[in-house]
């Protein structure tokens, strides 16, 4: 075999996009692993206990997030399923979770399926309310809340991380279109 040495480098869906628009910053979040954890029928209590023990985080109620000192964030996006977000450590991320939870959960690695974009700064509500069908104003959507919806016809998960700071997730396959929807909306309020 010919001696060909190739160095392969993983690229994120938006290649590490980061740009400021006045007070607003739009940037891709990279290096995160995403694993969905689903409950086998009737196993809610068992799984919640196992997750608390293994990941150190409580099972989130739907619409809320929980975090653990071990660096896991759990997003309660639907009944009987949560999405775990944590720093990617190489390899298959679902193996990491499955190791601790065994047959108490169905785990699926979704790291490559999503693009994550953080939009932060003053004016973030004005920028996002034009493309988001949900009321994400401060009085209705508190820090730590999560919702799954659609923005510009693209499925999206919205996490409120801080005052004036949102993490948006959408399919990596349409990452450019999702970013375009956001940046156009941001430019429109400048």
């Amino acid at each position: 075999m010919a001696d060909i040495s190739l160095k392969l480098e993983a690229r994120s869906p938006l290649n590490g996009y980061s740009k400021s628009f006045g007070n607003l910053r739009v940037e891709e979040v990279t290096g995160k692993a995403l694993v969905s954890i689903a409950v086998p029928q009737g196993g809610n209590a068992k799984l919640a206990t196992a997750i608390k023990k293994q990941l150190g985080a409580a099972w989130p109620e739907i619409g809320t997030t929980t975090t653990s000192p071990k660096g896991y964030q759990l997003l309660g996006i639907q009944t009987d399923m949560v999405l775990a977000v944590f720093d990617h450590r190489g390899g298959l991320s679902d193996d990491l979770i499955r190791k601790g939870l065994g047959d108490k959960a169905y785990c699926t690695d979704q790291s490559d399926a999503w693009v994550m974009i953080r939009v932060a700064g003053e004016g973030v509500y004005e920028a996002l309310e034009r493309i988001c069908p949900l009321d994400i104003s401060e009085r209705n959507f508190a820090i730590g809340q999560v919702a799954r919806t659609q923005m510009e016809h693209l499925g999206a998960i919205i996490v409120k991380e801080d005052k004036n700071e949102f993490l948006l997730m959408s399919a990596s396959s349409s990452a450019d279109d999702f970013l375009h929807a956001i940046t156009v909306s941001v430019e429109n309020i400048l």
């Binding site: 739907i62 996006i77 069908p133 799954r148 659609q150």
Partner: protein, 97 residues
């Protein structure tokens, strides 16, 4: 149109997919002696109501739940929204007792 989701609160109807008459929950028993005729009715016979109707909606761009929405097909007024899971479980409990 806004659907008031029992778990998530008010959501735009654009997030949902419409299926149809909620009688689709009542799938006949395939082992029943009249299974063929029951499945015929289940598959093909629907009331086309001008007024209040119970319908199945799927929250595809949301929490992936099935809902039973009571909606007036003339005015679009929605008077009740339940999780289809709860409706089906309640029926099972009712049938077995």
């Amino acid at each position: 149109m806004i659907i008031n989701h029992p778990l998530l609160g008010p959501r735009d109807a654009a997030e949902f997919v419409y299926l149809g008459d909620a009688s689709l929950i009542d799938r006949p028993d395939w082992q029943s002696p009249n299974a063929a005729s029951e499945f015929h009715d289940y598959m093909h016979l629907r009331d086309n109501i001008a007024g209040e109707m119970r319908e199945l909606w799927f929250h595809e761009q949301g929490d992936r739940s099935w809902l039973v929405v009571t909606r007036n097909t003339v005015t679009h007024e929605i008077t009740n929204v339940e999780l289809a899971r709860d409706v089906a479980l309640a029926k099972q409990t009712g049938a077995s007792s």
